[in-house]
Amino acid sequence: MDAIVVDKLRKQFDPPKGPVAVDGVSFAIREGEIFSLLGPNGAGKTTTISILSCLLKPDAGEADIGGFSVIRKPDEVKKLIGVVPQDIALYDDLSGRENLMFWGRMYGLSGSALSKRVDEVLELIGLTDRQKDRVDKYSGGMKRRVNIGAALLHKPKILYLDEPTVGIDPQSRRAILDGVKDLNSQGMTVLYTTHYMEEAQELSDRVGIMDHGRMIAVGTQPELVRLVGEKTRIDLGVDKDSHQLAEHWRALPGVASVTEEEAGPLSILAEDANTLMPLLFDSARAAGARVTKIDLAEPNLEMVFLHLTGRALRD
């Protein structure tokens, strides 16, 4: 049974000149699954989530959440979902507890049920002992945790998390990822957006890769990696003008792509690393450059993105 079905969604901001943020996106999320939308800045992840949250109306296409259309049955949809917005949306002058109490009321809870649920959520996000402090006194990670907690009060069947780990310390990030897995193991369906390949890799049952408003690939991780084929990624650092070398290497046989990152190593997708490596070293020597670093990696989601777009995921 599918919890979320998205069919050819399209959304353009400020038409006719504005950006087409979501351009014919389709995917389905099964009940009880963690599905990640992976994509760089501006890919259209937040816009997609906004449509699925009934905040934005799509120009075309359709989306059903738990069998209810976001366009025709938004009230039913809202009862099913919990939304963790990308930007922290809390009241700074209220304490953590007051925030949760308020958002709980907005989800229709009241009285002792509300108070009890707030206690539970505070426990869950590990803020029981800081609950009385104002949110503006919290660290970034603590705010992120309250931001998530506020979406859990009504025990939603489906949880959207829009880049919930941006700008926080590794411990808080760990806690959040573990928390998401916990919630999922209790049966919650999770739609998770990120531009961190590692997060998508660790969490997801299936991943949708988005770029420029389009869904360029959807599948389990093995399925996606197979798209790259038996390629290996070689990261090479050189001490000289890497741009010229990159041009050179693109012409070499067995090179699928070469990606240049500013002040970083060159990333080469190779059909066969064993035969290519000597060629790379030779041409570096011929150009008078010295190889300062070398790194080999098996295919991963990052490489899938690289393979499909010719660009690195992180900009």
Binding site: K78, V83, L94, Y107
Partner: protein, 409 residues
């Protein structure tokens, strides 16, 4: 229930901000207190007392009448008169600033006024050029009196002529007749003298006009009405703030309907100004001893005022895209409405065409209502002002809701 939770959060937020409190509560109280004190505090409006020196070089009936007019009971609130006999010393006291004005009655004024064809004699008003009001009062008293004495002289001479025409030739009798006529006329003229500068408050007295309202209190009403506009704008602006900070979107993802969210905002704006009004009225009572009138009409006026302010605050936010836009645009509108209503200039009583202009502003109507209750008026006098104010509120709420609906559809 959910709307109240939203309203409570916003009311709390508004009253937690010191800047908000300063603007909503402290500013109107300070202004009313300061202006009230400047105009003599407790009673109605009164002009500061002018130190006046009178020199009577005439010594006759006319001079005596002038001096007694200037020192009369009814001018005691306006002029503090000292008498001296030295004109030069009197001028010197104005020069040194001891007095603001010297009135010097020239020798021979009585004689001049008694003569059949009087030689021009001037009563001198020697004044400090920086002070305007006091000398003007003294001047007009003098002018009135001289005029009425002139009138008396004319009347006496006319009476004497009339008697002569009737064949009365005894000069002693004629003089006595003329003197009597003159006396009667000038006494009469003085009685109805036009220089009775009463202390009148700058307001339209209310229907049954029995109570004399408290100055600072009257000013506070104007200030209060004006500053509730700003009081309402603050929580109203939270709609834009929440939109920018993402909490509004988050509210819209919950199961709370958008209309309830907006309703909560409306309630919060209303409660904020209601609370502001009550605080100001209670503070005005405690600090200035102001009397607002009988409780029923006062409650109705408070509610009507809060509705006007709340609806206008929401209206100015409903079409604005940014907080700055809402702030800038609304402040201009508020000052305009405040100014034309006379709510903080104390010009509500000017009358004439201005009286029409004043009622373009809902505050003008509300001030009318308050003036009725403060002067002891009851229900009768507030019906029209309250209905007019409510009509404004209905229109404002309607337009605001139209814009909000379009925006958050």
């Amino acid at each position: 229930m959910r709307a109240l939770a939203i309203a409570w959060k916003d009311v709390r937020h508004t009253y937690r901000s010191f800047a908000g409190l300063a603007m909503m509560i402290i500013a109107p109280l300070l202004l009313a207190g300061a202006i009230g004190a400047a105009f003599g505090g407790g009673g109605g409006f009164s002009v500061p007392i002018t130190k006046t020196v009178v020199v009577d070089l005439d010594g006759g009936a006319a001079g005596g009448a002038l001096v007694s007019a200037l020192t009369s009971e009814r001018l005691a609130d306006l002029l503090a008169v000292t008498k001296t006999t030295d004109a030069a010393a009197a001028r010197a006291s104005v020069d040194t600033g001891e007095a603001e004005v010297a009135v010097i009655v020239p020798a021979g004024l009585t004689a001049a006024l008694s003569a059949a064809s009087p030689a021009p004699v001037d009563v001198e008003i020697y004044k400090d050029p920086t002070s305007t009001l006091g000398p003007a009062i003294a001047g007009s008293v003098v002018q009135d009196l001289v005029q009425s004495l002139n009138g008396a002289r004319a009347a006496a001479s006319a009476a004497a002529q009339l008697a002569a025409m009737q064949g009365i030739t005894d000069s002693a009798r004629l003089t006595a007749l003329a003197a009597k006529t003159a006396q009667a006329f000038s006494a009469d003229a003085q009685k109805g003298g036009t220089y009775a500068v009463g202390s009148r408050a700058p307001v339209t007295p209310g229907g049954s006009g029995s109570t004399k309202p408290n100055t600072a209190g009257q000013i506070l009403v104007g200030m209060m009405l004006f500053f509730t506009l700003f009081g309402a704008a603050t929580p109203a602006r939270s709609i834009i703030d929440e939109q920018r900070e993402g909490t509004l979107s988050r509210l819209f993802t919950t199961s709370t309907p958008r209309s309830v969210v907006l309703g909560g905002k409306y309630i919060s704006v209303f409660l904020v100004v209601l609370l502001q009004t009550v605080i100001l009225l209670v503070a005005g009572r405690l600090l200035f001893g102001a009397h607002w009138g009988s409780i029923g009409p006062v409650i109705v006026l408070v509610l009507a005022g809060a509705l006007v302010a709340a609806s206008l605050g929401l209206l100015t936010v409903s079409y604005a895209k940014t907080p700055a836009q809402a702030g800038g645009g609304s402040a201009g509108i508020f000052v305009f409405l405040g100014l034309i209503s006379g709510s903080f200039t104390g010009t509500a009583s000017i009358g004439g065409a201005y009286d029409v202009v004043r009622h373009i502003s809902p505050l003008g109507w509300l001030i009318d209502g308050w003036n009725h209750t403060m002067f002891g008026g009851s229900w009768g006098g507030i019906v029209v002002p309250v209905l007019a104010a409510l009509a404004f509120a209905v229109v404002f709420f309607g337009v605001a809701t139209f814009f909000f609906r379009r925006r958050f559809a």
